[in-house]
Amino acid sequence: MRQGPLLLARRSLFGRFTVAIAAIAAAAMLLLLLAADIAVRRARDDSLAQMVDTDLAGLADIYASGGAAELADRVGDRLALVPERGDPSHYMLADGAGRRIAGDLDRWPGLAAETSESGYLTLEDGAQVYARATLLGPGVRLAVAREYGSWDDLAARMRTALLVSGLAILLAVASAGLWAAHRLRRRVAAINQAYQAIERGELDRRAPGAERKDELGELAAHANRMLARIEALVKAHRDISDHVAHELRTPLTHLDNRLLRLIDRLPGSEAAPLLQSARDEIRNVVRMLASLLDISASEAKRGDARGLERIDLSAVVANVAELYADAAEEQGVDFTISIEPGVGMLGDPMQLSRMVTNLLDNALKAAPEQKGRVALSLAQGPRIEVIDNGPGVPEEMRARIFDRFQRVAATGGKGHGLGLALARAIAERHGLTIRIEDSRPGARFIIERQEES
């Protein structure tokens, strides 16, 4: 069975497992990215503040010792020295009105010199800076700004590196997961395939991989031990059924023969009817025995397609319907037959005949003496319905009437209580379900194809 990767992710345990692992890896990576970003930002803030403050302090010293002219020179010196690497600084020495005395800034940045305010700004030319201003003396203030593009470069490089390595990790995790999932799925699929074969009746099939020492191997080994047991039981069941039948029928046959000889020797005796009824009772026991064995045999072959042939179910049902049509008429029952032609299925025609026979027997017994009605229908699917207008079956009884020895009160308790049990066993042996519904009044038996689970 080929499955696309999407379907695999949704339907397969291992697929879901792989997806979950990949999702966790992705989330971990995002978290890492975020943490790295915050760390870089903090380092930048600290470093910028320190550099700008140091610069400012140095310039303030120069102002203290050399005055504004000296400071203007030094600012010019610093501006002339453009660093090859690292971020450039910008300065502005201004008077009380904000007019430039020295420096490369055209306008005083919006920082209060009196409080030595600092902050991140965008300069007029668009450069992003961290700046601090201070009041050096009356009417003299200084602003030092430093760009931090290199920090942004660093952050970007780090993000790229993290993203690339993260994606590589994610890819590795996903493919490792998929590989493991695929391998596990193949092993489990092989085990499932073996089970399917067993369900079809190949009882000698075993789950593969039982020799391995891992969990799946253990599972397969357990299952195989159970299967061996089931196979032995099924075999034993058949042998025992044959033996029970033989061992019980033989003495019953002897008993019957002796009763018969007694009847022959006592012609016209009062004992004769009693002896005959004893013989009838033997017949009943034998019939019940046969039905019980039939039920067990059908149950043992449940879902086993071997021994089934392609049959025309319409013809099989019509044959039984025809057999019952006259009996229904004689009984005064209005018997409607509606059979869709050409309904085919894989089946055992004798068993299916018997199933329909049992339902019709049941319906004819349940139908009232006056204005009795029985309807039999067959439709594609296949779907068989047998409806009667008898007293029906009370709701609380419905689940049980297909069990062995559950006589239906509606039929006056006639029969040995195995007819419906056998009907169910035969239906299930053919992958069909049987159920009963209320047909107001009366009972409606429905046999149809089991929903694929």
């Binding site: 002897h254 008993l255 009996a327 004689e330 018997r354």
Partner: protein, 227 residues
């Protein structure tokens, strides 16, 4: 038609005695073989009219005996008389070359009827295009029935039933035999469906005529009787 020469293979002496008595009373001569091996040897060596086989024998099962007989082209009619009486068992038996299958315990008259029917079929008495019996006629090709020259309209199933009765005219046919040969069913419905179906045919064959032709044999089945 008594006087058949029958071989019975059965390991149980009491069961064998009963069969010999029941068929003996009907005028047949039954020889008994107590093991499968002996049964096979005698069935192959002598020309019997019919062989009755038990299915479960200690040395060689009845199914194997039939298979061996059929392998060498021995066409002797075989009736399997077995304690394995489930529907599946019967199908298995009939599939492996057995001509008829009767489950134990059985009604002695049923055994006699089956033996007669098997022998008749093997003797080819029913292989003509028209079967005549008393004032009844059964035309196999045209699938039509006549009584005293008068056409009796029958449904297809009724004709099959009529034909089977005619093929066994004068002999008892049991309900089981009718179920198997007319309706192709090998189990016993719990209701009297066979009686009803035979009853309908009987009315068609007898309404407007003086004498009855279909006789009910109490507790066993039916017989076409010469008018």
């Amino acid at each position: 038609m008594g006087g058949m020469h029958i071989l019975h293979v059965e390991d149980d002496a009491e069961a064998a005695g009963a069969v010999a008595e029941q068929l003996g009373r009907a005028g047949d001569q039954v020889e008994w073989a107590a093991t499968g091996g002996e049964g096979l040897r005698r069935a192959a060596a002598e020309a019997y009219d019919l062989v009755i086989l038990d299915r479960m024998l200690p040395d060689m099962g009845g199914l194997e005996i039939v298979a061996r007989l059929r392998e060498v082209g021995n066409p002797v009619p075989v009736l399997m008389l077995s304690a394995l009486g489930r529907s599946d068992d019967r199908i298995e038996g009939l599939d492996s070359g057995v001509d008829d299958y009767l489950a134990k315990p059985y009604e002695p008259a049923e055994l006699v009827a089956r033996v007669r029917a098997l022998h008749r079929r093997a003797a080819g008495m029913a292989h003509s295009a028209v079967i005549l019996f008393g004032d009844l006629e059964c035309h196999l090709k045209a699938r039509t029935a006549y009584r005293q020259g008068r056409h009796i309209p029958l449904s297809p199933k009724e004709f099959t039933l009529f034909r089977y009765l005619m093929e066994n005219a004068g002999e008892v046919v049991t309900r089981d035999m009718l179920l198997r040969h007319v309706w192709n069913l090998n189990f016993d419905p719990q209701t009297n469906v066979i009686d009803v179906n035979v009853g309908r045919l009987r009315r068609k064959l007898e309404d407007g005529f003086e004498t009855p032709v279909v006789e009910t044999v109490w507790g066993l089945g039916f017989r076409l009787a010469a008018a």
